[in-house]
């Protein structure tokens, strides 16, 4: 009966992890993402880059999946499995990098606009509107055209292009949270504006931003293929899921596996990201314990 458990502080991260662990689909998402990241990290161990992934072999072109080439070969006779494995580096790298830039930039700008309101809000949101009127892909193309095409510049340009969306989402969320009484109570105990934004407002804006993050990451991974198709993406021999997909266009009828495997890779990544994102959102909301 004497269950005297002294109170001790529990870290927020531990509590989120505790709730996350019991969510099966979220754990599945985490496992898939972890596997994909492992594959990306150890791509060179699995398949040699120069020896297999970009080595052309006209004799073996357009082969259906077999024991030698589990995912078949493409129009240059390159092993698709090796290219998918190496492509994960580029796709995941650009996806994570781009979305990190967009999330970071958009959240800060949106939070400031929403929190301070008035003229600041006016100016920031009108500028955002202007940028939103330009299609993301066009915006990215402009930046790539100026800065050159490399994986890093593509990640940066797609990230910047996605900032306005995050700004809108963040501002909207901040506007609702800002009016809550607990913000006023934080001010009453002497919290600075920066503390109020980072400790009280942003944690309560977590859910919409997280959903936007998983969505944007999917869009960014797809946009890379769009850029490649327009000739402004990843340069030809470098394996990348999007460009593999667009290269397969001409062979869809007879050699559909060329599109299926990179497509599956993209789909799996995005599915896993969504599961992970939903799980994180639920785990971080104390009301859903």
């Amino acid at each position: 009966m004497q269950n005297k458990k002294r109170y001790r502080g529990q870290s927020q991260v531990y509590q989120i992890w505790y709730r996350f662990r019991h969510n099966k689909s979220a754990m599945l998402g985490l496992v898939i993402i972890s596997l994909l990241i492992l594959i990306a990290v150890f791509a060179d161990v699995l398949f040699s880059y120069d020896g297999i992934a970009i080595k052309q072999n006209i004799m073996e072109r357009l082969q259906a999946p077999s024991a030698a080439h589990p995912m078949g070969t493409d129009d240059y006779g390159r092993d698709i499995l090796a290219r998918v494995v190496h492509g994960s580096r580029i796709s995941l790298g650009i996806g994570f990098g781009g979305v990190a830039i967009a999330l970071f930039g958009g959240t800060i700008i949106g939070a400031i606009a929403g929190f301070y309101g008035g003229k600041v809000d006016m100016v920031v949101m009108r500028v955002t509107d202007i940028f939103m009127a330009i299609p993301n892909i066009l915006m990215a193309m402009i930046i790539v055209a100026v800065a050159g095409t490399s994986a890093v510049t593509i990640a940066i340009s797609l990230g910047i292009a996605a900032i306005p969306t995050f700004t809108r989402v963040a501002r909207g969320a901040v506007l609702t949270v800002r009016e809550m009484e607990y913000i006023e109570s934080a001010r009453a105990i002497g919290a600075k504006n920066s503390t109020i934004i980072s400790k009280h407002i942003l944690p309560n804006c977590f859910a919409p931003l997280l959903v936007q993050t998983t969505l944007s990451m999917a869009i960014i991974i797809l946009s890379v293929s769009g850029l490649s198709y327009l000739g402004m993406g990843i340069k030809a021999p470098i394996p990348e899921w999007g460009s593999m997909l667009s290269a397969s266009r001409a062979y869809l009828q007879g050699n559909s596996y060329m599109a299926i495997f990179p497509g599956l890779a993209i789909m799996l990544t995005i599915l896993a990201l969504n599961l992970l994102g939903d799980g994180l959102r639920d785990a971080s909301d104390p009301k859903l314990k």
Binding site: Y7, G9, E181, S185, G190, A191
Partner: protein, 312 residues
């Protein structure tokens, strides 16, 4: 301890200036409670917040032990927050849903850097929790897991964390059940005795304020219309509005019916009010003077102030 002089807060609206608080003056002695009563929208909450500068006042002076709060810099104001605290009306929205109870109570001490050692701070959190009657097992709980009364206790604990001497209680019980109300009121008056606190108690519930206050101030449309010691106000109300307000308190008896004064007419708009008594439109004893001139708060002796031409 606290003196308010000519406090004003106007809000800009598309139709003109809204006079939420207009020329309110009063003072509070240490260890006493001033009750502020009035109907919704009369500016009582705005007054409470303006005193703490949670809302910037438009004009006036707020002297806390001689220092004018309106002249303080942001940093000085932050330090003064240790002395002056507020308890909010709605315990469901005044606590951050993403912080545990312990974090909520701990936060003020962390922000103000009062107790820097983490273990000591936790001990203090538990001490505060015990003081307001929250069980230790609830420390890791989130606000949504508690009922209204317990949440309000958390709000009180957070306000007490900084050892304030002055607390604005902004309708702290009006969102609670009647049975819980009594508990919270008892807690507040126990704390006042133990910690020598000074309260401003904002409410629209007259029976609450009667039990609780030393002085009572009645507000109507941003104006202080009457202020007197509690007993004096209840036995000898002078302003017609106060009389109407007191006549509306229900008596828990079948045979004793009080004659109620039913107010007729519309509430005057607080936006760009005319130069007249703001109650004149609903007052049964208003004359021409009331409609063309604005009465000011006059001292009738014995701490009784009233702002009405007909009362003198």
């Amino acid at each position: 301890m606290l003196e308010v002089k000519g406090l004003k807060k106007y809000f800009k609206t598309p139709h003109g200036m809204l006079h939420a608080v207009d020329d309110v003056s009063f003072s509070i002695k240490r260890g006493t409670t001033l009750g502020i009563v009035g109907e919704s929208g009369c500016g009582k909450s705005t007054t409470g917040r303006a005193i703490l500068r949670l809302i910037e006042p438009t004009a006036g002076e707020v002297l806390f032990e001689g220092t004018d709060i309106r002249k303080l810099s942001t940093a000085e104001l932050r330090r003064l927050r240790c002395e002056m605290q507020i308890i909010f009306q709605d315990p469901f929205s005044s606590i951050d849903p993403r912080q545990t109870i312990a974090q909520t109570i701990e936060e003020p001490m962390k922000l103000q850097g009062i107790i820097r050692d983490k273990r000591e701070r936790m001990a203090r959190v538990l001490e505060l929790a015990e003081m307001v009657g929250i069980a230790e097992r609830l420390m890791n709980a989130y606000p949504h897991e508690l009922d209204g009364g317990r949440r309000q206790r958390v709000g009180i604990a957070r306000a007490l964390a900084l050892n304030p001497r002055f607390i604005v209680c902004d309708e702290p019980v009006s969102a609670l059940d009647i049975s819980i109300q009594a508990q919270i009121l008892n807690l507040l008056s126990d704390l006042q005795e133990r910690l020598d606190l000074t309260y401003i108690f904002i409410t629209h519930d007259l029976s609450v304020v009667n039990h609780f206050s030393d002085d009572i101030a009645v507000m109507y449309l941003g104006r202080l219309v009457e202020k007197a010691p509690a007993e004096e106000l209840f036995t000898n109300p002078l302003h017609p509005y106060t009389r109407a307000l007191l006549s509306a308190i229900p008596i828990p008896s079948l045979h004793n019916r009080r004659e109620r004064i039913i107010l007729k007419g519309e509430i005057t708009s607080p936006i760009e009010p005319e130069k007249a008594c703001r109650f004149a439109g609903r007052c049964w004893c208003a004359d021409d003077r009331c409609r063309t001139e604005e009465p000011s708060l006059t001292d009738l002796g014995n701490g009784h102030f009233v702002s009405c031409f007909q009362a003198n």
